[in-house]
Amino acid sequence: MLSSSITSLTVLLIVVFLFKEGIGLFNQKPVEPGYVIAINKNNKVKELSSVQLKNIYDQKITHWSEVGGTHDSIVLFQLEDISNYYSDEQIGDNMQNLGTCLSRLVDSLPNIIAFFPDKYLDKKFQGTLLEVDKVSLADFFAGKEWIPSAKPSAQLGVLPLILGTLWVSLGAILLALPLGLAAAVYMSEIANERVRRIMKPLIELLAGIPSVVYGFFGLVIIVPLIQKTFDLPVGETGLAGSIVLGIMALPTIITISEDAMRNTPRAMKEASLALGASRWQTIYKVIIPYSISGISAGAILGIGRAIGETMAVLMVTGNAAVIPHTILAPVRTIPATIAAELGETSNGGLHYKALFALGCILFLITLFINLTVEFISNRQKHNKN
């Protein structure tokens, strides 16, 4: 009782902490602090979303009409382009005239969009400063791109990361479940005591190997194997991640399923065998149904391990933050993203907050998984009484 309330309290504290750090994200604009985006004062457009802004700078949007303006094509401007319009003398030796130049430039080109530091903003600036929408929940959860360093506007869509995580974990469990179940059946019902006594500690040992070692194993053996087998440009793919995670989830699945199977009352097994059922019939008609809750708990905890796993995945999945369409494409997971990027962020910045929000998502996913296990094992206890 006490331990469970301590656990709940800790969990609550973690959530509060992650949430506190992450929530500020939705109060912020995705544009780099200290920069402004300006357009001509006659331009009808007053607001752009972060995605629109990025598409404009990626030249996927080339006409103002696409964002609610006139039919003219957009003229992109970044600070380094200034020399195309003004000579060094006009700007001045110490850039003392840069502000005036920018103001005049924006005023003279009706279709310009300019992105520059606000310290060069002239006091009598002749243009409109564009409002960029705050990061919205929809942008965050449904955004298809995760490019936190994109300029002028960071792209913070976590969809590819969530999908990458689920994709890799699902693949892992699809590989690990049949294998783990077979091994558990073998250990609990077929192997004799001596073999069991050797295998059991070996499998438990497998659970204790640091994940970076699995990562190396994946990188050296599985990645090249996938590359060769499927004739791919790179072997670092979702599949490689699934295989490595599947192997890592195996000990959990085997140990828990085996325990559940061994808990099948002897009377049940004997009843089945005494009716002339073969050993295999007894396994799939009595033992597996009887231990199904334990097996599911093992599988779910296995997924749980896979979802939270960082290092090994980081090493073998290629880490491309794009929505994966096949298992043979590189993917990036939430934990890998946090681990790889947190070190490069500035404390309290947009990117930093976005990573904490990601942590919240990951935490909720694992919490959900743990609650499911709790629910299943409660039901199991209930069944036995």
Partner: protein
């Protein structure tokens, strides 16, 4: 010819000997009771007849156990078929966590029988044989766990009967039941004798007296005395038997 015969049977769990040179012959359509103090080897002996002891690691059997003249530990014996012929009822009712119907149908299904109508008929006759039909006919789709202990045990007997064995082994089948349920099961055993050869382990000497034709008294892994039940209880040849049945030990 005898239905069941054991010749010079020794049995070991690892290094410890649980049965010593047991010789018993059992005729068809009789009830044989195995009695003796706890730990004397009754269950071990009973479980030899359907090779249930095979599940335990590190056991050794010496001698011969014959059913219908065939050595069931001989080469070429199919254990699954043996167990179809030699049914078993356990000490505690052990229905599967399935419906009442599926419990009885289980033995048929694992024997590869698919014919729905055949299965339904056989389930019904088996449940009727154990006089449980009127109590369960409206809830065949309910879990077997909803039945009382006595009903569960009769269901387990029906489950064993459904595959039409010729021998039924019972290991203290009433020890977990109340007196009324016990009486019902005993009555049933008496009736089943017409069709089956029954070997029953019992702790309860009155029960042995009521249901069995012959009784074997085991003591510390040895067969002390094996005789007609009446004789064994009224006029035992061995002093140890006398002591046991008069309650001086055990």
């Amino acid at each position: 010819m005898y239905k069941i015969e054991s010749k010079n049977v020794d049995f070991y769990y690892g290094p410890s000997q649980a049965l010593k040179n047991i010789n018993i012959a059992i005729r068809s359509n009789t009830v044989t009771a195995l009695i003796g103090p706890s730990g004397c080897g009754k269950s071990t002996y009973l479980r030899l007849f359907n090779r249930m002891n095979d599940l335990i690691d590190d056991i050794k059997i010496i001698g011969q156990v014959m059913i219908d003249g065939e050595d069931i530990y001989g080469k070429g014996i199919n254990v699954d078929s043996l167990r179809k012929n030699v049914g078993m009822v356990f000490q505690k009712p052990n229905p599967f966590p399935k419906t009442i119907f599926e419990n009885v149908a289980y033995g048929l299904r694992v024997n590869g029988i698919k014919d729905k109508k055949f299965i339904e008929e056989r389930v019904e006759t088996s449940i009727k044989q154990v006089v449980l039909w009127d109590e369960v006919k409206d809830k065949l789709k309910k879990s077997a766990f909803e039945l009382s202990g006595g009903q569960q045990q009769r269901l387990c007997i029906a489950r064993a009967l459904a595959i039409q064995p010729s021998v039924i082994l019972m290991d203290e089948p009433t020890s977990a039941l109340d007196p009324i349920s016990t009486a019902k099961v005993e009555e049933l055993i008496y009736e089943l004798k017409a069709k089956y050869t029954i070997v029953i382990v019992t702790h309860n000497m009155q029960q042995a007296g009521r249901v069995s034709d012959r009784t074997a008294f085991f003591y510390l892994g040895e067969l002390v005395e094996y005789d007609e039940t009446k004789k064994l209880f009224t006029n035992p040849k061995q002093e140890r038997t006398q002591n046991y049945i008069t309650g001086r030990f055990g």
